[in-house]
Subunit: 238 residues, 2 copies
DNA sequence: ACAAAAGTGTTACTCCTACACCCATGA
DNA sequence: TCATGGGTGTAGGAGTAACACTTTTGT
């Protein structure tokens, strides 16, 4: 190796030699899960690309040069849903060469959880709608793969960390919580064992309140302990 | 919403409107773990950027417009180590705005596992060297964070899936395997319990051979069952 | 009174942990 | 013969799964 090759480059010089490579675009796609009517749903938009006419796609956008990955995901969420106090978690990058017909676009997938009923979105315009996750067969781009990957990640995390509470209203009964777990995991759970498991985790506070709109014996209401709430770290910093 | 706004765009038209965004570069960084002398090591290179003079960095490179993420990682591995029959797994994207002094570079981190002794690298030139993982304090860019994240992922996967065998020679004794687990997890393990746990997983084949270069009673040699071997999916396809 | 779900404990089983002795080999 | 690790089993504890009856409320 020669003296010349060993000489340190400055970042400026390196940048010039890299200019050829600045022609891959990079986007964020958000798998926004919601829960309503005992079903896990995902927020989809009608694709506006001719190539995918009739198909739906995830919410996504290109990342701007001056925003980091999290900022971009929160921006997309905010633009499309008006929400910014939301749980978001990165899952994986997807970068097959031909995944996007416009050119080379690498995307980074995030999943997000929101309580459908408490965050009424303006769904009527911009072709945005909730779709039950297990009715979805085909999406634009590789978005079905992204959805499946994010759902799998959600399923893995659900018993480990208190994330699902983002899908529920502030107060909820143990029955509602169990139905949510069943919807996410796609299995039936034993009521007594489920309650034991949850109570061991020590995530909940008994609110000394009862359900009052149910046509049967009302259950106690609980909420997530404040210490386990995870919101948007960007707004939390303010 | 007007008729015009509703009209579908073609991908071609969309591409034009996105041109502004094609100025983020995207790279792959590989955390290449190796195992030798009872220590978990990682392959690092002296940074060639003035800004990081004296620091080491992971092996990485910009992704070319015509290669997908996996291809890029395997290319980097191949260029730097001459190896292409290797386990590689995507961990996460890192995209803070100022993580790279040359400009905006989003990177996708992969980890890789290779058997140091069986794959003698040309370490002498190009400033490439193995470093014990737990002696590393500071790296160029955000590479320490990337390393820590990848190590955590490796630790999570190690008991779930048979990945660690990529760090060992074809034949190995249970002692060697246990020492490897201890190095990765950073804890001591009970010999009897470890052997039970491994035997339940049914990953290994008894080779009816003994160690022969040890200064004590030799142990049996095992190898990973063929059905659990995971190699480079790109070369495997050929 | 009936329907619907709330609330609650025990038993059996599985899994995990902690722990100690004799054996085979090389020096 | 000594040093080194190989090889093995068991008992106690923790956690998990299966399972049924009584209670409360609304209709």
């Amino acid at each position: 190796m020669t003296e010349k090759e060993l000489r340190l480059k400055t970042a400026e010089i390196e940048k010039i030699s890299h200019l050829d490579y600045f022609n891959i675009a990079i986007s964020v796609d958000c798998v926004i899960f919601g829960y309503d009517e005992k079903e896990l749903k995902v927020l989809l938009i009608k694709s506006d690309l001719e190539e995918f006419a009739g198909l739906h796609s995830l919410l996504g956008d290109l990342i701007r040069p001056d925003e980091d990955l999290e900022t971009a995901s929160y921006r997309i969420l905010k633009e499309r849903t008006e929400l910014d106090d939301v749980y978001l978690e990165q899952v994986q990058a997807f970068g097959s060469i031909n995944r996007h017909p416009s050119g080379r676009v690498i995307t980074i997938a995030y999943y997000s959880l929101i309580d459908i009923k408490n965050h009424k979105l303006q769904l009527n315009h911009n072709q945005l709608n909730w779709h039950p996750v297990n009715t979805i067969r085909k999406l634009a781009f590789d978005h079905k793969l992204i959805l499946d990957t994010c759902l799998k990640r959600l399923q893995e995390q659900v018993m480990e960390t208190p994330v699902v509470f983002n899908l529920l209203p502030e107060k909820f009964s143990l029955r509602e919580l169990q139905e949510l777990y069943e919807a996410i995991l796609g299995v039936e759970l034993d009521r007594r064992n489920f309650r034991k498991k949850i109570s061991i985790k020590d995530w909940l506070v008994d609110m000394d309140e009862m359900e009052n709109d149910v046509p049967h014996r009302p259950g106690k209401l609980y909420r997530l302990k404040a210490e386990h709430k995870r919101n948007n770290p960007l707004t939390a910093r303010i």
